[in-house]
Amino acid sequence: MTQVTRIVGRSVPRMDAPGKVTGTALYAADFALPGMLYGRVLRSHEPHARLVRLDTSRAARLPGVRAVITAPDVPDVRYGGSVKDERVLARDRIRFAGQPLAAVAATSPDAAAAALAAIEVVCEPLVPVLDVAAALAPGAPLVHEAWASYTALPILHRDRNVCNRARIVVGDVERGFVEADRIFENRFTTSSVHQGYTEPRAAVAQWDSSGLVTVWSNTQLPFEIQTTLAEILQLPPSKVRIIVPGIGGGFGGKLRIGMEHFAALLAMRTGRPVKVMTTSEEELTAAYPRQPAIVEVKTGVTNDGRLTAREARLWFDTGAFAGSGPGVASVATLMLAGPYRIPNLLLEGFAVYTNKTNFGSFRAPSGPQANFAVESQMDIIADALGLDPLELRLKNIVREGEEGPTGQVLTAVGLEECLRRAADAIGWRDRRPRAGRGKGIACGWWTTTGGSSGVYVKINPDGTVALNTGAAEIGTAALTGAAQVLAEDLGVQLADINVVSADTLSTPYDFGAQGSRTAFAVGNACRAAVADLKRQILALASKHLGVEEHALALREGSVVGEGKRTTLGELARISQASGGGLIAHGTFVAPPTPYDAKRVEGHVYPAFHSPSFHAHAADLSVDAETGEITIHRYVVAQDVGFAVNPAAIEGQIEGGVAQGLGQALSEEIVYENGRVLNANLTDYKMPTTLDVPRVESILVQHPTLVGPFGAKGVGEPPNIEPPAAIANAVASATGVRITTLPITAEKVALALRARAT
């Protein structure tokens, strides 16, 4: 299928690049207002304790300090997306080291820091629940004693420290194991990793005389934050306005409420604008990093490599609050199935409370953890059966028109092409070129999150176009992609389009920059707006030119027909003089993906919309002495549906792989007795220019019927497969199978040594 296009499908530079390279682009962390105070948050040192007393009197008297607030100063509200289990400030119980206890506002950051140090905290430590095993042990202390009384989504399966158990059941897994010749049981663990955005979370709040609070924040979800903040402040949502000036990276870490509530409460108390911004220590101890996971996978297979059954369980440490956990545990079950045709399934995902930070969503939440387990096991199976890992995958992958695990019918399935092209590119036939060097492959699937998006598109009197969207640009160039779709359909140039975005008062609703959906959904909303605009434009042009509408065509910013011509600018001016201007409201909501409801329980994400498919292949060497890994080549073949902006998509792949290699090789938030040991960027090791190899991208294009021009979501997938691809390549190079993340040199060296003895 070839589409002739002018602007989509081309690697045009992103629209906001000039502001970003000249330093004029404004981010929330840069935002300031006259008279602004600086807020800070006092956080618990104890992972689990009874809060006895907070004495703020000395802090409040310090010079420059304008407010000190503790729990009694804020509305007694419990909030949360799926379980309402969290308060702004701890009242009587401390549930993690890092939990907010008090907040201060002062005339300088130094004065605010001094105020924090002057607050006296008296608490009685309790036995902390340190990990999932401790939380699930018989008689384990309850992280939330009143869990049963909390308001929660009725669909969730909750039980004491488990705030959701999501399940998929297909066929009869026991019968499937009977049909198998071999059964493989493996256990894998992964560590918590931080999104690592370079811009700290930041918010500036200001109240006006009408009782409206405006918060400039770097949230990915302004409309969700509006709702949550209104709930916390006990206000109608219309009294809360969220504006996103600009975001310095999010990757899911800026989905949930960050500093907005502290800024709003301190601004209310002081009558002054207040800015609150996190430190690196706060980010690594008290943000929303990826959940650590334990994964157990039992898979039945025939001797010729046909998968007959899988029983798998994945336990997420969700920390002190449910947060994203119940949803991420749901998505995990779809990832445990993998992109494979397995007739019998019993898959469970658990979100488990512990006394740690509220682990959250990080680019393809649940993807890397589940994929590391199931794709590592595919290689274990292949090795045991004497099969080529690529052939084992090709034998079992889902094909066009087949069912996904919950019964959704899969279309636009480009997986075989991804696997074959990635394997060819890496030189798969020579999989173990020499001792200590090997190649690994891993594949997966992922969703394009649905939800709704609205845009207003307006033609300016000079013929340029304003695109007004509720979505925020988090750095992916998704709004450049949406604008390319708009320019394509409207017959204008990309340079003619200006974007206004992410202001809950003035922009139309958008479900937010999450789940690889922005270019997909906003692009589709633009298409709807253009359809409406074209009707308006042609009707007006027909009247103006005296030509029947059917004889008119929209071409390069003009309307032409029967030898006559007018411009969009002229029509906009006519409309402004006579009809209020040319403007359209375009909307899109992803159509529901039908699935078999009998197969799922406790599930908040039962099917993948317009799923994408991908394969990663790595070629690496392992130093036999030190265990150090050198990646020679890394290839990604990703089915993107249709590449709206190929260079921007390749940028997503390169960055997603770099982040995934961090999780695979070096990154881990290290806990000891409930406290983070490496809460700084020296000891939390993100990849640098010296660590990331060149990434080769292959864009596979099997267009989906739903996405604009066939596009699927592309942002999250590249983050999924790196841990499994690396683990498989290390096993290929050394024969040593590492089943825990990260795969550090130390771990590899010890495994090599253990095997030698």
Binding site: A29, E654, G655, T688, T689
Partner: protein
């Protein structure tokens, strides 16, 4: 606390400020002078988003006291090119798709400039080492490295395109 008078030569212009002796150059640039192109993050010289040039050398403004810069020439991203113009590094970063969220980019470009000023004919390894102190979480660095190498070629072809060298 006593404030001391400081004379800072920023982007070729002398700025007189009063600042407490413990305040960092980053804080003074952003808070007192509104030069927000220099970014703030880790505040312990690990991430590089605050990179500026001090007498032509790349430094982390977050751990440099403003008082240490008394009378010295500082280049921030705002001074890299004349208003309305782009330095070849800036143009190359746009053309090569080296920018995503962009928060690390001002520091990255200035670190690259300091390196290219000393190494007009760089290779990929040299660029990788020069930029190792600047974290980027979006791009995987590939296009940043390509852009830097491309800018080096452009600068060699047309040295005057580097615009005014305000801080040298």
């Amino acid at each position: 606390m006593t404030r001391i008078p400081l004379s800072l030569i920023i982007n070729g212009q002398t700025h007189e400020v009063l600042a407490e002796p413990h305040r960092t150059l980053l804080d003074v640039l952003r808070t007192d002078l509104g030069l927000i192109g220099t970014k703030e993050n880790c505040l312990e010289a690990e991430c590089g988003v605050c990179t500026v040039l001090l007498e032509g050398a790349a430094v982390n403004a977050c751990i440099l006291l403003a008082a240490q810069c008394q009378g010295r020439a500082i280049l921030t991203i705002e001074g890299l090119a004349a208003p309305g113009q782009l330095h070849p590094l800036q143009q190359a970063f746009i053309d090569h798709g080296a920018v995503q969220c962009g928060y690390c980019i001002p520091g990255m470009i200035l670190a690259a400039k300091a390196y290219l000023d000393e190494n007009p004919e760089p290779d990929e390894n040299g660029v990788r080492e020069a930029l190792a102190g600047n974290l980027c979480r979006c791009t995987g660095y590939q296009r940043i490295i390509e852009a830097t190498l491309s800018a080096a070629r452009a600068l060699r072809a047309s040295p005057s395109s580097a615009c005014r060298e305000t801080a040298r």
